[in-house]
Every structure is written in C-alpha cells, then in structure tokens.
Symmetry: C2
Subunit: 230 residues, 2 copies
C-alpha cells in the first residue's frame, strides 16, 4: 500500500490569510487545495497565485462543480489547477464533460461523495473512467453520535478502492485519527484548520506526515495519472 499524500485545505476569506500558513507549511504538503470558500472569495486569482508560488505541487481547485462543468473546469485548469472537484449530485452529463476536459489536458477530476451518493452511481463513475473520489464521514452517523471514524467508513473506503478509485479522506481529520486508518487504502488525507490555524503550521503538517509514515510506512506515493507540473 502506498503512503497517503497530505493535502492542505485553504478555506480562508482572502488569499493573504491562506498564503501565510501555506508558505510556512508547504515543504510538508503534497497537495494544495484552494477551497470552495477561497475560490469564491478570490476567484481563480487564488489558483493562479498558488500555482505560481508552488509550481511543483499538485493544486486542487475545489470548485464543486454541479453544472456548467465544461466552463468551470476549463477556467480552473487554465488558472493552473491540476485537479477540480465535482459534486456527486451534479447533473449526469457534468461528470463526462469535466472528465473529458481533464483528460485532454492530462489533468484530473475528483468526485465529492455528498450525502445521497449510491454504489450504483459509483459504479457508473468507475465505468466512465473516473479515478478519484472524496470520501467524507457520514453526517447521518455523526448526528447519531458517532464522533470519530469507524469500521463502516473503513469498509466503504476499501470497497471504493476495490472499484479502482483513489480515495481522498476528509472531515476534520486530526493526527490522532490517522492510526485508525492502518490497512485502509487511503490516497490522500485532507487537513484544513489543523494546519492553517496552528500556531506553527510547519510543525502541525510535519506531525501529520510523521504519523502517516508511522501508520503506512515511509515510501511516498507517486500521484499516478498526472504529470507533476514544473
């Protein structure tokens, strides 16, 4: 099993607030997510600036496409994003147009599994050639009092990986949560506030990387299906 990558989610209200922690932590970061909030506050200017600052990193524009997939993905890719996100509830045609747009540029898309996704949908995406999904802890289970990650989550991640997906895991992941995922094929862990709001973002990111290495072994995953920019 490859060692999972670490993704920083930047969801600040403006670009400068994101750049400070990012500049301190970036050496520990594999994937930089320009979060939905930052995309909406600063537009694709945020993606352009981050692409320019960190040409060797994978940059995800978390634009959460629901419609107008061709236009929005094109805009994000042209701004320098390597990956864009599409919500699982998007219009069915959106997956195909965004995937085509991505493949034509040797870039990629991720489908964010929101409440209401089904295994039937996942199978269609897999058949279509979708490579990546974003898995969140179920809000329903959380409402029922399951406050941490549980066997049901790990089973679902296994099943998604068996279908061929690279699975990004998100939802308030803390370093202490990572060992719970031992043996579970995670492609990327997302950390947001845990790094961005830390007093020492570099140390916070290193703590994630250390516990990822301890849990999964030290060999870094090479991100397949994408040419590292730069």
């Amino acid at each position: 099993m490859n060692k999972p990558l670490l993704q920083i989610a930047l969801d600040t209200y403006d670009l400068p607030s994101a750049l400070g922690p990012l500049q301190r932590a970036h050496q520990q970061i594999d994937v930089i997510e320009v979060g939905t909030i930052l995309c909406l506050s600063e537009g694709m200017h945020a993606v352009r600036a981050i692409r320019s600052l960190y040409p060797d990193k994978i940059v995800l524009a978390d634009v959460r496409i629901a419609e107008a997939g061709s236009i929005i993905s094109k805009m994000a890719f042209e701004a320098g994003a390597d990956w864009v996100s599409v919500v699982s509830g998007a219009a069915p045609s959106s997956f195909e147009v965004v995937l085509a747009e991505a493949q034509a540029r040797q870039k990629d898309m991720q489908i964010e599994l929101s409440d209401g996704w089904t295994w039937e949908m996942a199978q269609r995406w897999s058949d279509m050639g979708v490579q990546q999904v974003i898995f969140k802890r179920s809000r329903d289970l959380e409402a029922q009092g399951q406050l941490s990650w549980g066997q049901q989550d790990f089973d679902q991640i296994h099943r998604l990986a068996e279908m061929g997906f690279k699975v990004t895991v998100t939802g308030g992941v803390k370093p202490a949560d990572i060992p719970l995922f031992a043996g579970t094929p995670v492609y990327i862990f997302i950390a947001g506030r845990a790094i961005v709001k830390a007093d020492d973002p570099a140390a916070a990111a290193k703590e994630f990387q250390d516990v990822i290495s301890q849990t999964f072994g030290a060999a870094p995953a090479s991100p397949p299906g994408i040419e590292t920019p730069g």
Copy 2:
C-alpha cells in the same frame, strides 16, 4: 398579478466582460445576477464592484451554496449581495443557516430547484419561511424533445406560487417565450446571453421589458421582503 422583474445573468470569465454590457443595459434591469462562473472567476470582488456601481439595483450572488452555508452567505452579503442562491440538494441544515443569515440582515435567499427536487422538499422550505425559488425547465423533458416551455412548467410554477413562493424562471428564456407565461405568476425572468451577447444590450433588455409589460401589464412589481438598497 404583479409585473415580473427582469434579471440579467452575468456569467463571463472576467469582470470587465460583464461590466460592458451591464453598463449599457442597466437602466432596463431590475436584478443583477453575479453568476456562478463570474463568482468563481473573480470572487466576491465582482459582487463588490457591481454593488458599488449600481447601488439601487438588487444584486444576486449566484454562489449555489451546497455546504458551508453560513460562511459563504456571510461573505456574499458582506460583499454587497442582496440575495444568495442555495441548491435544492444542499445539506438540509444549509437552508436554515442561510435563511437565518439572510433574515438577520434583511436580505434574502433563493433555492435553485435542480433535478431531483420534490414537492415534499418544497413544502418543508415553505414551512421554514423560504420566500424564493428558481425554476428551470426540466432537463428530462428537454431530452425527450420538449424544446420550449409547456403546460407542465406553468402548472408547476402555479403550484409553487400557491405554496407562497416567489418564482424566478430561467433556462434560455427569449422574448418570444414570455407571452407563453401569460397568466402564470412569475416573479422574475432571467436573461443571460440574450442580453449580454447582444449587439445592443440596452435594446435587447428593452425588448424583454416591453414584452413583459405587454404580457403582464405595466405596473412594476415592488420586490417584497427586501429593502431596496441605497
């Protein structure tokens, strides 16, 4: 029945491309929509600029909230938006938090009825105090060859209005379509490319206003539930 308002949808890749046609057409426009594409390309800077240029217009930030409703709506309202949009498939809690954020500021939200919305959901929104919905022509019917607006659309708009909603109508509306809506309680018609891409955006917008007046009578609707800014 009040005369419907005319909304211009600005979905350009940058702000200057939107400002040109808008400046020419604005005297004929009631509501300015900063479209999803423009929000994502320029961020809330686009909302701020348009608010500043046209302090007397209603400005809608079509941010299509699916999650993080409190943060995104706050950001849009603080940038000067009067209204924000939420997708019908949003997390259930999103409707409540955005509505509360809007009401606290005497602003408003619109729910965009995407494929998959149900009358049961609409009843819940109505019970919750939601005032506005955005109605689109069914993609399914369109795929089945119904290329214009039909009785089923008008019936649904009537039913939504009877539930208390003010209904915005969108989906490639052209001036020639408007007379079809005679007798149907439309609150707002959205026109995008038909105005923005016209050789003469002012004339194109005036053509909409003229046919709206002919179809619905000349008395302008006052937008209830919102204090006109400025």
